[in-house]
Symmetry: C3
Subunit: 139 residues, 3 copies
């Protein structure tokens, strides 16, 4: 049994979903593991991870609109605004989604379904470079 | 250290929570692992996984009603409706819950609490057979 | 490759977020694993786990207020109230957050970001002692 780790930088130019499936898949394939477990971990509290539909771009726009609706920018609602009006909504959106994903690896690839992509969900308005930790165990 | 994987089909006859705890527990017990880590992964974007109360059936009805309330079928709200009015709400409900669960295995069994069951949360109205990947590592 | 497990009791004196990062970190450090994968699993259906901002206390108050807003105590809304008006909201809040977290371990420590803390999110009003299962695999 072997293990591999890496800290992967992922750039988000703006709020919303950023597909980094191919970076993850490429890294897994380079390790030469046939069967194992991949873990993806986001080291931030105002960005998160999501596995979502990878075909229709309207899904990503509707998702973004949904989260703006349930966790709106509204200074009246929140005590915390150290970094501006998008600060507390970012923490709420992170709480409602995930900061880590585990995906089994079979036949050398993460067993994503046909329509599943791996997304960084950036919740701040300004561009950010986020740090994603990857861990792979298997043989 | 050993690993086991399987693709498990889980049938959902309708929208809502479908308990498949016993299928998962039986598969884990058959592998003969005493201590390890079980991963359950749903290969879909309009069905998800949830660990929930396994005793009172009203909990499942209330959960279903809650998700219909916060992510309603309403063509006015969404740009995406390729597969009908339950398409985009299904993606939202998936984003708000999980597509993967990791459960430690101790004494040969997943360490679920007394009241915890493992559910497929089907978000589409029509019946679907969903594919769930299981991975177990341990010894 | 080695594995370690423990059942960790975590006390919640009231509803809300309870930081137990240091207990988790201390346990990981005692096992002497340099590289691996840590899994944290909550064995309950009315308490959950969350990685959140560890600096500003207003974040925790805003989070608590947000979840009270979207899953309010309101006997009119729910069929299930076996254990009182905070029973069903507790299940909903658990469904919207997580019962398990996986965190890669690098250089002998969980790779949490600077601002990330590990929280038990208690959803019942009365004090509870919750049981959290930890699993660590690595070398």
């Amino acid at each position: 049994m072997r293990q591999f780790t890496v800290l992967l930088p992922v750039c988000a130019r703006k709020r919303g979903l950023h597909d980094f499936t191919s970076e993850v898949r490429d890294w897994v394939e380079r390790q030469g593991i046939r069967t194992g477990l991949l873990t993806i971990f986001c080291r931030h509290t105002s960005a998160s991870l999501l596995i979502q539909e990878n075909a229709a771009p309207e899904v990503r726009a509707d998702l973004e609109a949904f989260f703006e609706h349930i966790a709106p920018e509204d200074p009246e609602r929140y005590a915390h605004d150290d970094e501006g009006p998008d600060d507390m909504p970012a923490h709420l959106r992170t709480a409602l989604t995930q900061v880590q994903l585990c995906i089994p690896v079979m036949d050398g690839r993460p067993v994503l379904g046909t329509w599943q992509g791996i997304y960084l969900f950036e919740h701040r308005r300004r561009p950010h470079e986020r740090e994603i930790a990857l861990h792979l165990i298997g043989e």
